[in-house]
């Protein structure tokens, strides 16, 4: 865009978005050509820079969360064994062995970091920011400054969550679900001192960040689409992000309120969640000045009212990315666009009335459990529709086995497993047995790791040319994919088996029980696979950084894709587009007989 005149830009932008402020406002944005390094790359209001900031933050935390997973796997495979290399530094007092409270902290923080600092920021933060304006033909977000604050609200969250490690008693150790009274009574867990309070604050900041993002995404998608781009011509990525943003808008306030209530319980000794008559570590909460008289189930209701929709926040955008990647690289229109959109809506809508399935065993009225079972089983239907539509998209297509495509195919293959195993959990009687066992662990890792993370990998391979103007190395990409796919399944598929054998979650050393003793060899296999999976990511890291600087340069549309982002230069400059866009059709016109090529972009008029 540097070669285009700024006035032309302003006029174009104003023409595109008559609804948003006077042309002068838009013009003003484009006057800032000589902005400093700090404004350009650090405190940037440019959605692309913010997206990339979110991406790298997310990837760094992915590494941290992964390291924690490795420590967890070490303990599960060889409990109370000296840890090689790091044991000497981390555990000098226990003979280089993980201590049980450290293990508790590890899985708490692993879950927290992976959910709130990796998956959600990568999906909605990184790709939401980067893709939304580009895919709807807008020069930037509706509220660029708010967008910047959205990223910077992550910083206090990061500080809080990192600080909670260093505090007295260590990090929070009440699980990522933070069930009271374990989380509200300081004496209940060593990490439940200040660590837990900071953890709650971190959650609140993450919530604020997501909220700012969500407001922005919804406004941008509703108000700033290019002319001709009706809602039913949006790519599914945008639909996914749009629905996820709506989910966040409606569900986050509940979590924020709940975590503030828990902070109050902890700091001001209010009595929302702590019942009367407890005796923990020789102390009753009342004797410490707590009001008590609360109800732990209240937290579970509030928490899952957010966190169940959060599961869909973590997968709905990934479904969108996978749909786009599948269609593009299979050179075939997406099968059943409208059912796909409606099923996303159905998943989101039903997602609000299924939270009780996390609480079947909680002591909640069993009749309520039956209601939640019905709604939960219902939610399998839209997922089922999506899977069949993806498969139908592939049928009769011309699959190009690029790295992006492989990851998207893996997403479908493994999302099927994650989806199907969910049906056991939805069924209340079967859930009596499998609740809180490793089947649950296998299930949500299949959805969130094997599903969302593979979709994220696919999305990175797919949109990398747009981000950096270069392509990622395909050979390295394929090596990375093959290894990751194999080891992912070795790790998480086998977790179903130990779950069916009845092994419960969050256990530091299950082998002293007769019923679990024979599971150790299988756990060792899982752990070795997990170490390989972790090590294998080196191919991705090398590929990423190598490609940023030395990757093959590509033009605007390396994949011959149809949607709007490929009309912009790679990488797009400030303001994104250097020409006027009018949308004439849907985003998936691959293999159309109307033109000689096998694709017909949305913005081309014929």
């Amino acid at each position: 865009m540097r070669d285009a005149s700024s006035t032309a830009h302003a006029a174009h932008a104003a023409a595109l978005h008559p609804g948003l402020g006077a042309p002068g406002t838009v013009h003003e944005i484009h006057e800032h050509h000589e902005i400093g390094f700090l404004r350009k790359y650090v405190f940037s209001t440019d959605h692309k820079v913010i997206g990339i900031q979110f991406m790298f933050t997310g990837l760094v935390f992915f590494l941290l969360g992964g390291l924690m997973a490795m420590a967890i796997r070490w303990q599960l495979a060889w409990p109370w064994t000296e840890m090689p290399v790091v044991g000497r530094v981390l555990f000098p007092n226990t003979g280089r062995v993980i201590s049980p409270e450290f293990y508790t902290m590890l899985f708490t923080m692993h879950g927290t970091i992976m959910i709130f600092f990796v998956i959600i920021p990568l999906l909605t933060g990184a790709f939401g920011n980067f893709l939304i304006p580009l895919m709807i033909g807008a020069p930037d977000m509706a509220f660029p400054k708010l967008n910047m604050f959205g990223y910077w609200a992550m910083i206090p969250a990061i500080l809080c969550v990192l600080m909670s490690f260093a505090l007295e008693g260590g990090g929070p150790a009440a699980g990522w679900t933070a069930y009271p009274p374990l989380s509200t009574i300081e004496k209940a867990a060593p990490g439940s001192m200040h660590g837990q309070t900071f953890w709650l604050l971190a959650l609140t900041f993450v919530g604020a960040s997501s909220m700012m993002g969500a407001v922005n995404y919804v406004t941008t998608i509703v108000k700033m689409r290019a002319p001709g781009l009706t809602m039913m011509r949006l790519p599914l990525s945008i639909w996914g992000l749009f629905i996820a943003a709506l989910l966040q808008l409606f569900a986050l306030p509940v979590l924020t309120a709940a975590s503030i209530m828990q902070v109050l319980d902890r700091v001001l000794h209010t009595g929302f969640f702590t019942p009367t008559n407890l005796l923990v570590n020789q102390m009753t909460p009342e004797s410490a000045g707590a009001a008590a008289g609360g109800q732990p189930l209240l937290w579970q209701h509030l928490f899952w009212f957010y966190s169940h929709p959060a599961v869909y926040i973590m997968v709905v955008p990934a479904m969108g990315f996978a749909s786009d990647i599948l269609s593009t690289h299979a050179r075939k229109p997406l099968f059943g666009y409208k059912p796909m959109v409606y099923s996303i809506m159905a998943i989101a809508g039903l997602g609000f009335i299924v939270w009780g399935h996390h609480m079947f065993m909680s002591g909640m009225n069993p009749a309520l459990g039956m209601t939640f079972m019905v709604s939960t089983i219902l939610i399998a239907l839209p997922s089922c529709v999506k899977v069949f539509n993806w498969l139908a998209t592939l049928w009769g297509s011309r699959i190009h086995l690029t790295s992006a495509m492989l990851n998207a195919l893996a997403f479908v293959a493994m999302f099927i497993i994650g989806g199907l195993s969910g049906i056991w959990m939805a069924s209340t009687p079967v859930d009596i047995y499998i609740h809180d066992t490793y089947i649950v662990v296998a299930h949500f890792h299949y959805v969130v790791f094997a599903g969302s993370v593979f979709a994220i990998f696919g999305a990175i391979y797919h949109w990398f040319p747009k981000m950096f103007g270069r392509q990622m190395n395909e050979t390295l990409g394929k090596i990375h994919f093959v290894g990751s796919f194999i080891f992912t399944n070795c790790v998480f598929y086998m977790m179903h088996q130990i779950g069916i054998a009845g092994l419960m979650r969050r256990t530091a050393d299950p082998y002293a029980y007769d019923v679990y003793a024979h599971l150790q060899p299988l756990n060792q296999f899982i752990s070795i696979s997990a170490f390989c999976l972790f090590a294998w990511q080196i191919f991705f890291v090398v590929n990423l950084f190598h490609s940023i600087f030395w990757g093959k340069r590509v033009g605007r549309n390396p994949w011959n894709a149809c949607s709007l982002e490929w009309e912009a230069p790679s990488p797009p400059g400030h303001g994104n587009f250097d020409k006027k866009l009018t949308v004439h059709r849907g985003p998936y016109e691959y293999g159309t007989p109307e033109v000689a090529e096998d694709y017909l972009p949305q913005a081309r008029s014929i």
């Binding site: 069930y179 923990v280 229109p333 069993p366 539509n389 297509s397 056991w424 007769d514």
Partner: protein, 255 residues
């Protein structure tokens, strides 16, 4: 490359089918069931297994075929279609129906295990107290009441008679715990501040691991217990012996 990747996806399908046929041999499978309602739960488990197994093989098989067949390099364009209403109706309606079947077959068993109206008409045999980090079973003494001085408290071991419906009250002294006996297919959270009645009936004598299935703090893994199922006579004898031990004068400590 295409063949290799096809095999890769095929491997996932094979892995899925293989584990479900071979896992029994490694005991990576449901432990034997010993309770009266565990069989119902297992049957539902298998019902769902067959249903999802069918869809697993169908969908993964289609995916493998697509990669194999449509991954070929061709010069022609792909089929140009945006959807097919009837087809979509079929793959919405058929799974929908199956899901309905699943839903309705579950309800009876759930009600049987958890609804109070279906509880056996017996007095609670004991109170099971969960606390950080042990199980303590409090049997009533001769007065038949809980919370009196003649209660018998037994740590770790939950002794019950075989082939009789057992009702007990689950309670927690501090945080949330969960009473889980894998062999019984029974799980129930112990919620502080609540008295939760639970029932079961065991059909085979033996010792069965009782574990805590809800994170209860750093010692969660330590929170072991054992369900000891004995004959009625042995149970009565045990109860009698425990009552006698309550009134010990300490002479057994003199060596």
């Amino acid at each position: 490359m295409r063949i290799l990747l096809t095999l890769l996806f095929l491997a996932l399908l094979v892995l899925g089918v293989w584990t479900f046929t071979d896992a029994h041999n490694h005991a990576w499978w449901l432990p034997p069931n010993v309770s009266s309602y565990g069989g119902d739960i297992d049957r539902l488990f298998y019902l769902i297994l067959w249903m999802v197994g069918f869809f697993f093989v169908l969908t993964e098989g289609l995916l493998v075929w697509c990669v194999f067949n449509f991954g070929r390099k061709r010069t022609t364009k792909a089929d140009f279609t945006h959807g097919h209403h009837k087809l979509e109706l079929v793959w919405t309606a058929v799974p929908g129906l199956l899901l309905l079947v699943i839903t309705f077959t579950q309800m009876q068993t759930w009600a049987k295990v958890k609804f109070k109206s279906n509880f056996p008409d017996v007095k609670p045999i004991c109170e099971v107290w969960a606390s950080q980090f042990d199980w303590r079973m409090r049997y009533p003494g001769d007065d038949g009441k809980f919370g009196t001085v003649d209660d018998i408290e037994n740590p770790f071991e939950f002794v019950v008679p075989v082939n009789e419906p057992i009702l007990f009250n689950l309670r927690s002294r501090d945080v949330i715990h969960s009473f889980f006996v894998p062999y019984l297919r029974l799980k129930q959270d112990a919620m502080p501040g609540m008295v939760i009645p639970v029932w079961f009936q065991v059909e085979k004598e033996g010792s069965y691991d009782l574990v805590c299935a809800e994170l209860c703090g750093w010692g969660h893994y330590k929170m072991a217990g054992r369900l000891k199922v004995v004959s009625r006579a042995a149970y009565d004898a045990w109860l009698k012996k425990s009552k006698e031990e309550m009134n010990s004068n300490g002479s057994e400590d003199k060596s």
